[in-house]
């Protein structure tokens, strides 16, 4: 996949050098004029998160003054303490970890198996099956949510964590992504394995899967983002605060506690910080994931 983190090399001096210098000179700036666009934009984009972290550490009383001070008088963990002691937020965090963890493991196993089968094996029903998978990519969730709700209520899955997990066990996008990846691998490796007497299963687990790490990383991030951040489905399917996911749980503060800003922002930090940190360490893989979801169109 294209490495977006590497900007293109500067144009060779012979063609671009003097022209670039004169352009820069014309505006009389000692730096690239693009900084004038990018620096303010980056600051504006950073402000909401900075405010969120600051407010989560500010004494609650500071945040209901008018005018609200821009800099907190002192920093305190009181918001977090009140969040943990007056709400089941840690349980919700655990629920979300279970949902996201199950979703990722199941996606990696089931979608890579299916992607490989559709890419490499020839068998009766393959084309029909794959056509069905691709067709479902277009069906919007709004069409599915009412019958899925009724179905889950009939099988007694509503109001439990299972309701949040089952829709995330596999996805058409995941199967499609893995199939595209396996199609791009050279056939020779697998043929050599088969000639050496490996079964298909051995070829898949010992030869193909170790080569699929970049695609598996993309799939894991896609699943993590989707299952961690999902709101509408848990909102519909789970009505029992012991089985709330984190995202659903934090929206319940918006009623009576909607001006307890330091508690609300602490809850927001709990709900977003894991993904922010993960993004910061794996930015490359996140960008690859975004690029792929763009390329599939």
């Amino acid at each position: 996949m294209t490495d977006l983190l590497e900007a293109p090399a500067p144009a060779p001096a012979a063609s671009g050098g003097p022209a670039a210098a004169s352009r820069r000179g014309r505006r009389g700036l000692p730096f690239s004029p693009w900084h004038l666009l990018l620096a303010p934009t980056a600051i504006v984009f950073a402000i909401p998160f900075v405010e969120m972290f600051l407010a989560s550490l500010t004494p609650a009383a500071d945040l209901v003054q008018v005018p609200t001070p821009l800099i907190p008088s002192t920093l305190t963990l009181a918001g977090y303490a009140s969040l943990v002691t007056t709400s089941p937020v840690l349980l919700w965090l655990g629920n979300t970890l279970v949902v996201a963890g199950t979703a990722i493991v199941s996606h990696l196993v089931l979608c890579s198996l299916a992607g490989y089968g559709f890419a490499r094996l020839r068998f009766r029903g393959r084309n029909l099956g794959f056509f069905g998978i691709v067709a479902t990519i277009m069906i919007p969730t709004q069409v599915l949510m009412i019958p899925t709700y009724v179905l889950f209520s009939r099988i007694g899955l509503l109001d439990s964590l299972g309701a949040a997990i089952v829709p995330w066990l596999a996805s058409a996008f995941g199967i499609f992504l893995m199939r595209q990846f396996f199609l791009s691998l050279p056939l020779e490796l697998e043929e050599a394995g088969l000639l050496d007497g490996c079964t298909r299963r051995q070829v898949f687990f010992r030869i193909v899967l170790p080569l699929a790490k970049p695609a598996l990383a993309t799939l894991a991030i896609f699943t993590l983002l989707g299952s961690w951040n999902d709101l509408v489905w848990p909102l519909i399917a789970i009505n029992n605060d012991q089985a709330f996911t984190l995202q659903l749980g934090i929206t319940t503060f918006q009623g009576a506690r909607r001006t307890e800003w330091s508690l609300l922002m602490a809850a927001n930090v709990v709900a977003t910080l894991p993904l922010i940190l993960f993004f910061l360490v794996a930015q490359k893989q996140f960008i690859a994931t975004m690029t792929f979801s763009g390329l599939k169109g």
Binding site: P8, L110, M138
Partner: protein, 310 residues
């Protein structure tokens, strides 16, 4: 694969062997694809068909369903509240789609160069992508709070009148669109960055050597290369915009005065608050149909535009 010639010359026992091999292959193939395929199709094709049947009924989930034929669809066409929701959704799409495509294009062009701090800028602009709609919504109610929010604090410091923001029917949708832009600029920027880096550098260099200015080279060399990606981003963001729900739920819950009640919010309310499963399904299918129409429309328009351009 299954196109093995079964001419009469092939002896019966060999034919049986071939059939057995076909069955073994099918077993192996479905062992690989079966679990995921059953899950995905079972949770989409089957509910989609059911949803269509539901859309022809009046049903609250408990009592016996009543067949109403196209009655739900007929009611939808004359439902003033639904039309208001369509209007609000259209307004949001108009606010969000063009600005997200243009912002993505601008940021991609700006970030596609080797200048100092570019990594820092990129990180700051991309991080909001991981923020959930729930967190973004709650954060919006804080930043745009009329009494305590940062925005009004700044306005007051500048001596300007504070605004109602999410509590003002005229401004609420604008605030929601702004916060959507904050979270999704990364996506359009990334796909434009990928497209920009796929353009061979020689193309632009050739234009510059032929005497084009940088601006002309961008307008006449880079933009035509980006046209398919621009069309794709427009479709993608439009589909996203038509399905707006989460941010409305976590900021205004459809208010003030229903000004941010979108089609999906209306659908959710009809289906899960009023338990009108049939009517909710009809609205969902209507939305699906409109989404498909717009998608096809954008594809046709972009095809035509490209034919005219060349």
């Amino acid at each position: 694969m299954t196109a093995v010639p079964t001419a009469p010359a092939v002896p019966a026992d060999r034919r049986r062997a071939i059939r057995r091999r076909g069955a073994a292959r099918a077993l192996e193939g479905w062992a690989f694809v079966g679990p995921a395929t059953v899950l995905v199709l079972g949770l989409s094709i089957f509910p989609a068909a059911w949803s269509f049947l539901l859309s022809l009924q009046r049903w609250d989930g408990f009592s016996d369903p009543v067949n109403v034929g196209a009655g739900n669809y007929a009611y939808a066409v004359s439902d003033a509240d639904l039309w208001a929701a369509v209007w609000h959704t259209g307004l949001y799409a108009l606010l969000f789609v063009p600005s997200s495509v243009l912002l993505g294009l601008l940021l991609a062009v700006a970030l596609n160069r080797r200048i100092r701090f570019v990594g820092l800028y990129r990180t700051a602009i991309f991080v909001p992508f991981v923020a959930s709609a729930a967190a973004t919504g709650i954060l919006s109610t804080y930043l745009f709070s009329p009494q305590f929010g940062l925005l009004n604090t700044i306005l007051r410091d500048l001596g300007l009148p504070p605004q109602g923001w999410l509590e003002d029917p005229k401004q609420a949708m604008v605030v929601i669109a702004l916060m959507s832009l904050w979270g999704s600029a990364a996506f359009t920027t990334v796909i434009f960055l990928a497209a920009l880096q796929d353009i061979p550098a020689e193309l632009v260099e050739a234009a510059l050597i032929d005497g084009a200015t940088k601006r002309q080279a961008f307008r006449h060399v880079v933009v035509p290369q980006l046209a398919p990606v621009i069309a794709f981003a427009t479709i993608w963001q439009t589909v996203e915009a038509l399905q707006l729900f989460d941010l409305v739920y976590t900021t205004t819950r459809g208010g003030p005065l229903n000004a941010t009640q979108t089609v999906v919010y209306y659908l959710w309310n009809a289906a899960f608050k009023q338990t009108e499963f049939g009517y909710g399904s009809a609205v969902a299918w209507g939305l699906f149909a409109i989404t498909m129409l717009i998608t096809v429309g954008v594809i046709v328009v972009s095809r035509r535009a490209r034919i005219e351009a060349f």
